[in-house]
């Protein structure tokens, strides 16, 4: 078969909703796009453990502490599935982690914002996981098999996190004045960064068209962002809180909420490394990695010794 035939049969599979599997032929750009996207997604889970891990020691009740620890642990698990899915495209986990630690690979910018109060644990669960879920639900049907299957597992846990986040805010919203203020302040700080999670506007997005054609993505950034806004604008009523956007308003003609302009300057600035916590996040990841180097070396050395012992025994 010529390259053209391979490409045609590849696109045929995609058009017929047949998943692409690791050993199947795929265009190099498809492999690269998936690898970039899945590894970024894995890194986001791992870096995302830091802002929430920040409140484990201070969780205000034992029940909340257990819920938070389990949530951060789930994220580590998601990171594992995703690194495994990305490895099927030909890059080792070690290499991916090196790329993260050196700053070469990206992760979701949302985790470059600080968690400043306990209410942030609720807001992150409700808004950040809520935004992530819309993207991930779509990705359960993405064309690359290992990624789609990882997403199915992840989505179940993420929707649980989102409910927990909302429930935690609901308690604060019914609490003392200080708790209600804390809740509103967290929503104010996390709202706009959550909207930025969907990426640039469709008109500005460089990778969108090809990704849609290959069914890596099935909805555009703007479509997903709009569904998120429509969902949250309704849910916030139950909290009796407000979203920090004076232009947020139901549009009867569009059957969607209209909303104000996102600060794209801030978006690009954080992407470029100037967010409030970009530096701290990478320092924390590098520290854990570097300080763990002797542990990993010892585990390898011990496994080797053991293998040799078994060989001698067998001989």
């Amino acid at each position: 078969m010529s390259l053209h035939d391979f490409e045609k049969s590849f696109q045929n599979k995609i058009d017929n909703e047949i998943k692409i599997e690791p050993k199947d032929w795929m265009p190099e750009a498809y492999r690269k796009t998936n690898l970039r996207q899945i590894s970024q997604h894995a890194h986001s889970e791992i870096v995302g453990m830091l802002p929430e891990g920040n409140w484990i020691s201070r969780a205000p009740s034992l029940k909340r502490k257990v819920i938070l620890i389990a949530k951060v642990q789930d994220e580590a698990g998601h990171g594992l599935y995703l690194y495994a899915a990305a490895e099927t495209l030909g890059m080792s986990r070690e290499q991916m982690i090196d790329d993260l630690n050196s700053g070469k690979a990206k992760y979701s910018s949302i985790f470059n914002y600080p968690t400043l109060s306990w209410a942030d644990m609720g807001a992150v669960g409700w808004l950040v996981d809520g935004a992530a879920i819309l993207n991930q639900v779509m990705l359960c049907r993405t064309s690359y098999g290992p990624y789609a299957r990882a997403m199915v597992r992840i989505c179940k846990e993420e929707s649980f996190h989102q409910r927990q986040g909302f429930e935690s805010l609901l308690v604060l919203s019914k609490g003392t004045k200080e708790q209600r203020d804390m809740c509103q302040d967290a929503i104010n700080r996390w709202w706009w960064p959550s909207l930025m999670m969907f990426g640039p506007k469709d008109s500005e997005s460089t990778n969108s068209d090809q990704s849609m054609k290959w069914k890596i993505k099935r909805k555009t950034n703007d479509e997903l962002r709009q569904s998120f806004i429509d969902m949250i604008a309704e849910q916030i009523k139950l909290l009796g809180m407000t979203l920090p956007d004076p232009n947020l308003k139901w549009n009867e003609n569009r059957k969607h909420y209209d909303f104000g302009e996102i600060n794209w300057e801030e978006f690009w600035s954080v992407v470029k490394g100037n967010g409030p916590c970009n530096k701290q996040r990478l320092v924390a990841r590098n520290k854990a990695h570097d300080e763990g180097a002797w542990v990993r070396a010892a585990a390898i050395a011990y496994a080797e010794k053991r293998k040799n012992k078994l060989k001698i025994k067998a001989a």
Binding site: A70, L80, A284, K287, A288, G292, A293, R296
Partner: protein
């Protein structure tokens, strides 16, 4: 309140405090572990420990409320007591140190906890017995996991071996306290010591480590005489409850 119900409350709180404070320390590894899989593993142990502490505190609260007109809860016990009220073993509150010290501490503690809970299982007190039965399943895994790490690091590289030796030297002086009975404990606690030592020696042999001898043993945790570290653990853990008294979370 008579002496025996007081002792039961103290004992139950002691068991809860050990699990909570060690859980609080281990939780510091969450998101900072040396390998993703091990980050998950130590976090699992943390969840087990905090779960155990909740079971003990809930029972202690029930006992307290039955004899005194109070509204004790698992959270009032965890968040509204001061250093001198905490009864956890000193080893639980020590800083994590490196991975060697963390896994060795877990191994020492879990091995002790298993022996203690095997006895507690037969306690006439149904609550304590039930908590022990449930916890032993978890503890068996904690011993397996931490024991394997002690062996792996002891018999790994020169660096990991040396780090294990430092960990043994740092921690050994805190293991004598396990077997010295406080006035709320049974005096036959000392009978567990040899069994504990046997298990430790087995693992140390495989890990090419030696058990230290003639070490002066630190004590005090069980009666509220702690290291200087505990105050910081508590002030961080309790900060929200202290700042917003009476709030629900």
């Amino acid at each position: 309140m008579n002496k025996s119900s007081n002792q039961l409350i103290d004992y139950t709180i002691y068991l809860g405090d050990c699990a909570l404070i060690l859980g609080q320390r281990n939780a510091e590894w969450c998101a900072h572990g040396p390998i993703l899989e091990q980050d998950i593993a130590i976090t699992n142990i943390t969840l087990d420990l905090i779960g155990q502490s909740r079971n003990f505190y809930q029972y202690a609260a029930q006992l307290i409320n039955a004899v005194e007109n109070k509204n004790a809860t698992e959270d009032s016990l965890a968040y509204l007591r001061m250093e001198r009220d905490f009864k956890n073993l000193l080893i639980c509150e020590l800083p994590n140190g490196d991975w060697a010290q963390t896994v060795l501490r877990q191994f020492f503690f879990s091995t002790f906890q298993q022996l203690l809970f095997e006895k507690l299982k037969d306690s006439p007190d149904e609550h304590l017995s039930a908590i022990a039965v449930k916890s032993i399943k978890e503890i068996n895994y904690h011993i397996k996991w931490s024991g394997e790490w002690v062996i792996r690091l002891g018999d790994g590289t020169e660096e990991s071996h040396n780090r294990m030796i430092s960990a043994v030297n740092n921690l050994w002086m805190y293991t004598g306290e396990f077997f010295i009975a406080a006035d709320y404990e049974n005096s036959d606690l000392i009978l567990l010591k040899n069994k504990w030592l046997d298990k430790v020696k087995d693992i140390f042999d495989e890990a090419t480590l030696t058990v230290p001898e003639n070490v002066f043993m630190q004590t005090g945790g069980k009666t509220g005489n702690h290291t200087e570290y505990l105050g910081f653990v508590l002030s961080e853990m309790q900060s929200l409850q202290r700042t917003y008294p009476g709030a629900e979370w």
